[in-house]
Symmetry: C2
Subunit: 176 residues, 2 copies
């Protein structure tokens, strides 16, 4: 096969997978200072996606990317705290934060902090958009104190972990 | 007295009180985006000021501005949490955060969050400068997620509370 044909085949393959990608692959961009913007479409109605984000029993099944996840706290209300402990092959990782706003089933605003970088707090705004066809678009904007902290997060290989979490969420949503 | 003489007298009075002011009155400025910069000189050596900021028994005596203060947690180490509950005439107020950096006796970096505005996290960097004459300059830079959050804090009458806390700290330092 010529190089040009290979490119064409690749383009066709990409074109063929575009619809699947729109659902399966998160779009990660940095449109504003200190921010990471993530969009992902899930093949499930909004109420079900909301439950997967807020019910401790369900969160435990996807947030840890297949690793054991202990939900120590998940108080889904303004001022409530959350704390998860992930038992990964490379060690035990704690994550925690607090809810600034809880508006079911459309919006969560909460802080996020990894024990490995204490005090490096991220403000996460997650919106759940009903696409009207049984699917839901989840948009997460993460605001950091500085661009350096944001870029450090991007370099930590955030997108791999995110893909794994979202794939686990796909499976959970299909099973509910 | 002529207007000019009045101005001169006022200037002289201000000049006369400059030294006292440098010690007694915090200088609060907003030199950078999203930041509040505070400087205050204390008439005590740096080690003593450091203790007043990090020993729970001492913090309880000044941080609450004369109100009862319960120190629920004060883990002065990287990753350590802190949580104080102030019993003020207008109600009970919780404050909490986590240490990003602890470098005795010169530098503390920690987060700050008031229960009344959960998720509105402030990143505070406090430096303790030995002035070489038995006095210590304490500089606190508070970094907010947005200018709006910073300006909201300024409008909450932050400087009155700060004056009361620092006056209580003056008294404590003199007694140690």
């Amino acid at each position: 096969m010529s190089q040009a044909a290979k490119e064409t085949a690749k383009a066709a393959a990409n074109a063929g997978s575009t619809n699947a990608d729109a659902t399966r692959r998160p779009v990660i961009t940095t449109p504003r200072e200190r921010e990471i913007h993530i969009e992902r479409i899930f093949d499930a109605p909004r109420e079900r996606v909301w439950r997967a984000y807020t019910d401790p029993k369900l969160v435990a099944q996807w947030w840890g990317r297949g690793n054991k996840l202990v939900i120590e706290r998940l108080e889904v209300e303004r001022g409530g705290h959350w704390r998860f402990v992930e038992h990964a092959p490379d060690g035990v990782h704690g994550f925690e934060g607090r809810f600034r706003e809880v508006t079911p089933p459309s919006r969560l605003v909460q802080t996020f902090e990894w024990d490995g970088l204490p005090g490096h707090v991220v403000l996460e705004t997650t919106t759940f958009e009903d696409l009207g066809d049984g699917r839901t678009r989840v948009v997460t904007d993460s605001l950091f104190f500085t661009n350096e902290e944001r870029d450090g997060m991007l370099q930590l290989g955030m997108s791999d972990g995110l893909n794994q979490s979202y794939a686990a969420l796909d499976r959970l949503l299909a099973s509910l």
